[in-house]
């Protein structure tokens, strides 16, 4: 299986050219993507041009970047200069950004190949990629099922072997859950570890960019390239970035693992539970100690998240009004008479540009921030968020990492949860708490179900301790071979 490091090594040694890798990647996408719809835009000319530039650099003895020749697909919420960035929305269907996201610029500087932009739930709102305005992505293990979301396309690109790595974004689980449902590695770093500049904002206090990869080492290397202080994101951490790849292969003997009882209650699929517990037992054989931990406010995470994230989204999506970029639709004469032509334009543009789930969340978010309701909903949820953070802080006083399922069920069928928004929201129950607490968390594959559906093991670490979770994930991965 091709990995980030195997490709980078081969290119560095001259065993294969970057151009050959680019051609192979485009051929695979052409061959496989019609049935999977992981990609919204393929940057054919651009990736071949940058591949040739890398080969020329190597030929004249220039220093190659850490990801030279490695194809990395990009979630279409990340701006790419000169290449259409849609956020899977009609609002931005034709938008071509004039700047690269910081993470994109860092990948380019590392000589990564960028073959295209991946499908997602519209404006990152969803857990199945079914909210894409351009059609859903399909799970490569079973194309009647969703790959999860919102970074479904990025997960599919890796899980189907089109690229060895990709970038997604995770606000409430949107990297971890699709990684679990498609059978690849997905990492959400500590809040602030990776710059959000150029990530089209959904919920600013929760959004984080992170890598998908076929293996833990690949995810670690990509994370090293994209992480670190960025002056253009005031929430990005000044802290030094540790060598994440160094964590791979480190012994986990003596690490204390916490198993949260609240994550093994009703609603958890028995096959998922069995697979996760088997992985925990294997880590015990590797020398980890296991103890129960209590994350008392887990059951309040869904309510807390859907108040806070939608409130932030209602503010962030106010910029889409038809004035400066994206879709513009004129208001009807009737509407113009009632509200004035400008507001009629706002209304008509937003009605036409946003899909059903986006409108739902903007409405909910606007409501919880509105006069008379702000204290009861928004402020209250912020206080519960503090309690959820404290749950993790208390647990981490006694354990080095928390291990649990990523998703309560394996991949569900297309259309299965679309009629009930609440049912979809409840499927995020295990990923939301780490997002609310701002702590790093990742998903790594564990034994699939009898039907062959992937299952994800979630590892949550204290703030800034991505190395701990990467070591544990790598130790499990080595055993699982």
């Amino acid at each position: 299986m091709e990995t980030v490091s195997s490709i980078a090594d081969a290119v560095k040694k001259g065993e294969v050219s970057a151009e050959e890798i680019a051609r192979r990647t485009l051929a695979r996408i052409d061959e496989r993507d019609a049935g999977l719809h992981a990609f919204l835009t393929i940057a054919r000319d651009e990736v071949l041009a940058s591949a040739r530039a890398i080969d020329e650099k190597r030929a004249r003895g220039g220093t190659l970047g850490a990801l030279a020749g490695v194809p990395v697909a990009l979630k279409d919420a990340l701006t790419t200069r000169g290449t259409r960035t849609t956020c899977a929305s009609k609002m931005l269907e034709a938008w071509v950004p004039p700047y690269d996201a910081t993470v994109v610029a860092r990948l380019r500087a590392a000589d990564a190949l960028l073959p295209g932009k991946t499908n997602m739930d519209e404006f990152a709102m969803g857990s199945s990629t079914e909210n894409s305005a351009f059609g859903p992505a399909k799970n490569p293990r079973d194309t009647t099922r969703t790959p999860g979301g919102s970074s479904g396309g990025s997960a599919v690109a890796v899980a189907s072997g089109m690229t060895p790595a990709s970038l997604g974004s995770d606000t409430g689980g949107s990297i971890r859950q699709p990684a679990a449902l498609t059978g690849c590695v997905g990492v959400k770093p500590t809040y602030g570890r990776v710059s959000r500049f150029g990530l089209v904002a959904f919920a600013s206090s929760l959004d984080q960019v992170g890598p998908f990869a076929t293996d833990v080492r690949g995810a670690a290397r990509v994370l090293s390239v994209i992480a670190g202080r960025d002056g253009r994101d005031s929430t990005s951490l000044a802290a030094e970035v540790p060598d994440f790849e160094d964590a791979v292969g480190k012994s986990v003997r003596g690490l204390r693992i916490g198993v949260p009882e609240e994550y093994f209650a009703s609603g958890l699929d028995p096959e998922v539970e069995a697979s996760v517990r088997a992985a925990i037992a294997a880590l015990e054989r590797d020398g980890c100690t296991v103890q129960n931990v209590h994350l008392a406010h887990t059951n309040h995470a869904v309510a807390t998240y859907y108040v806070l994230a939608t409130a932030e989204a209602s503010s962030n999506l106010a910029r889409f009004d038809g004035v400066r970029y994206g879709l513009r639709v004129s208001g009807s004469e009737d509407s113009a008479k009632k509200r004035g032509a400008l507001r009629a334009m706002y209304g008509a543009t937003r009605d036409a540009g946003f899909g059903v789930e986006v409108k739902r969340r903007i409405m909910l978010g606007t409501f919880v921030l509105s006069g008379g309701y702000y204290d009861a909903y928004y402020l209250k949820a912020q206080k519960v968020r503090t309690l959820i953070r404290r749950d993790f802080e208390a647990a981490f006083a006694n354990v080095d990492a928390i291990v649990c399922p990523t998703s309560p069920t394996p991949a569900f069928r297309l259309g299965e949860k679309t009629s009930d928004p609440l049912a979809m929201y409840l499927s995020d129950v295990y990923t939301l708490p780490a997002s609310l607490a701002g702590v790093p968390a990742m998903s790594v594959p564990c034994a699939p179900t009898k039907a062959g559906l992937p299952v994800g093991l979630q590892i949550v670490a204290p703030s800034m301790k991505e190395t701990t979770m990467l070591s544990i994930a790598a130790a499990w991965e080595a055993r699982a071979q």
């Binding site: 004035v323 970029y325 400008l342 909903y377």
Partner: protein
Amino acid sequence: MDVAQIRHVAELAELSLTEEEEKRLADEIGRIVAYVKELDAIDTEGVPPTAHVPTAAGAEAREDVVQAGLEHDEALAQAPRAEHGGFVVPVFVE
């Protein structure tokens, strides 16, 4: 939720909803709000709100020095309508 409340929220959110959308959202938002109301039962006496997660290494502001941003033309390039170096919108002031 009743349709009048939905209309008020839609006004605040600058969304022009159809009658059918208003009815559907009244039902859906109503159910979701009923669900999130479960937060009421939690004791948060003396608990400070978390607006954004503070982490050990905080960010300091950069030096207040002018840095290049987007070129004027680049900023206007994707506008639905631009003239005379600005974004053109329907008249809103008499």
